[in-house]
């Protein structure tokens, strides 16, 4: 073989190898638990569209007055709604800073046979239009005369 052909062959072998490996890796990685999380709304979960026992994401509003803390202080039960259906959730751990009743959240976890969603992670959405009135009140008391401006278009 001439050096040029040899080089070409090396290149082709390497290319095929790398593209093949990459494809295999990506396919394998997509199979990993938690790699691909589908998103369902509470009404879809209610309608039985969401898988049982598999990880997925659910998003909606925390129902007012539904948040209950258990004695250990870390296990929290609450309900999530999209105003068409309501799904009960349970989560053990610290909730994010922006978790509030009436606030939009997204949870990762699994749906049990009992219809209870066991969340492994809870993320609060940075919804820029929403501000809990209690907080605003306490701030106004602290001396902000103007109605506080809500941030928009922030990272």
């Amino acid at each position: 073989m001439t050096p040029k052909r040899k080089r070409k062959l090396t290149l082709i072998v390497l290319l095929v190898l790398s593209v093949g490996t990459a494809t295999a890796l990506a396919l394998y990685a997509f199979q990993q638990t938690g790699s691909l999380l589908y998103f369902y709304r509470p009404s879809q979960v209610y309608a039985g569209e969401a898988p049982q026992g598999r990880m997925f994401r659910i998003g909606g509003l925390v129902v007012d007055g539904s948040v209950k803390r258990e004695a250990d202080g870390l296990t929290v039960r609450f309900e999530l709604t999209d105003n068409a259906a309501t799904i009960p959730l349970v989560y053990t751990g610290l909730l994010p800073d922006l978790f509030r009743e009436g606030q939009g959240i997204v949870a990762h976890g699994r749906l049990g046979e009992d219809g209870l969603f066991r969340a492994e992670e809870v993320l609060a959405k940075h919804d820029e239009n929403y501000m809990p009135p209690e907080v605003t009140e306490s701030l106004k008391a602290a001396g902000n005369k103007h109605p506080a401006y809500v941030p928009q278009g922030k990272p």
Binding site: R41, S43, G59, G60, L61, V63, D64, T81, D82, N83, A84, G102, G104, K125, D127, E128, N129, Y130, M131, P133, T136, E137, K140, P147, A148, Y149, V150, Q152
Partner: protein
């Protein structure tokens, strides 16, 4: 030549997807209430607690329902637009005062003007939940039959009113 065009080809495919993606808002959760009858409710009026506003009051005429509160910054922002719209008498605007205090809400209207035909006082936010409200401000367009036709999340802007809401309102009024 062909293999040198490969990067450009891949890029073109990418651009197509990005362009499609641009027109979709990944954060948007479609409202299940559009084209459905407005949820039933009966709430005391803000200014006169003895009277109530109900979903039946919304029937017979095309109207806007604006969710607002005195603690809400976005409401302050959109308020001048609502006042101007009310002055033009094109469509009645009903207010849904959300998780507010009566005195503060009245004071707020005193200071910035009152564009509302009537205001329902939703102290604990229960009705707002039924309406699928994410936060204040939000604005709904309800047709003569009391069916929700459109929902705008966040402060109204002059463009939204001119380009979307008013054309829709006049179509509903004519139809």
């Amino acid at each position: 030549m062909i293999r040198y065009l490969l990067p450009a080809t891949v890029f073109v495919v990418l651009v197509v997807f990005l362009a499609v993606g641009l027109n979709r808002d990944p954060t948007r959760v479609p409202s299940p209430l559009i084209d459905k009858p407005a949820p039933t409710f009966a709430l005391p009026l803000l200014k006169n607690p003895d009277q109530t506003l109900t979903h039946r009051d919304l029937q017979g005429e095309v109207s806007l329902i604006n969710v607002w509160a005195s603690w809400c910054g976005g409401c302050y922002e959109e308020h001048p637009i609502l006042v101007a719209l009310a002055r033009s008498h094109q469509v009645p605007i009903y207010g849904l005062n959300y998780k507010d205090q009566r005195a503060k809400a009245m004071e707020w209207l005193e200071e910035y003007g009152d564009p509302y035909a009537a205001i329902a006082f939703d102290e604990n936010g229960r009705v707002a939940i039924d309406w699928g409200v994410y936060g204040a401000p939000e604005t709904f367009v309800v047709d003569r039959q009391g069916i929700i036709r459109y929902k705008h999340i966040g402060p109204l802007t002059a463009e939204v009113v001119q380009d979307t809401i008013l054309p829709l309102v006049s179509r509903l009024q004519d139809g």
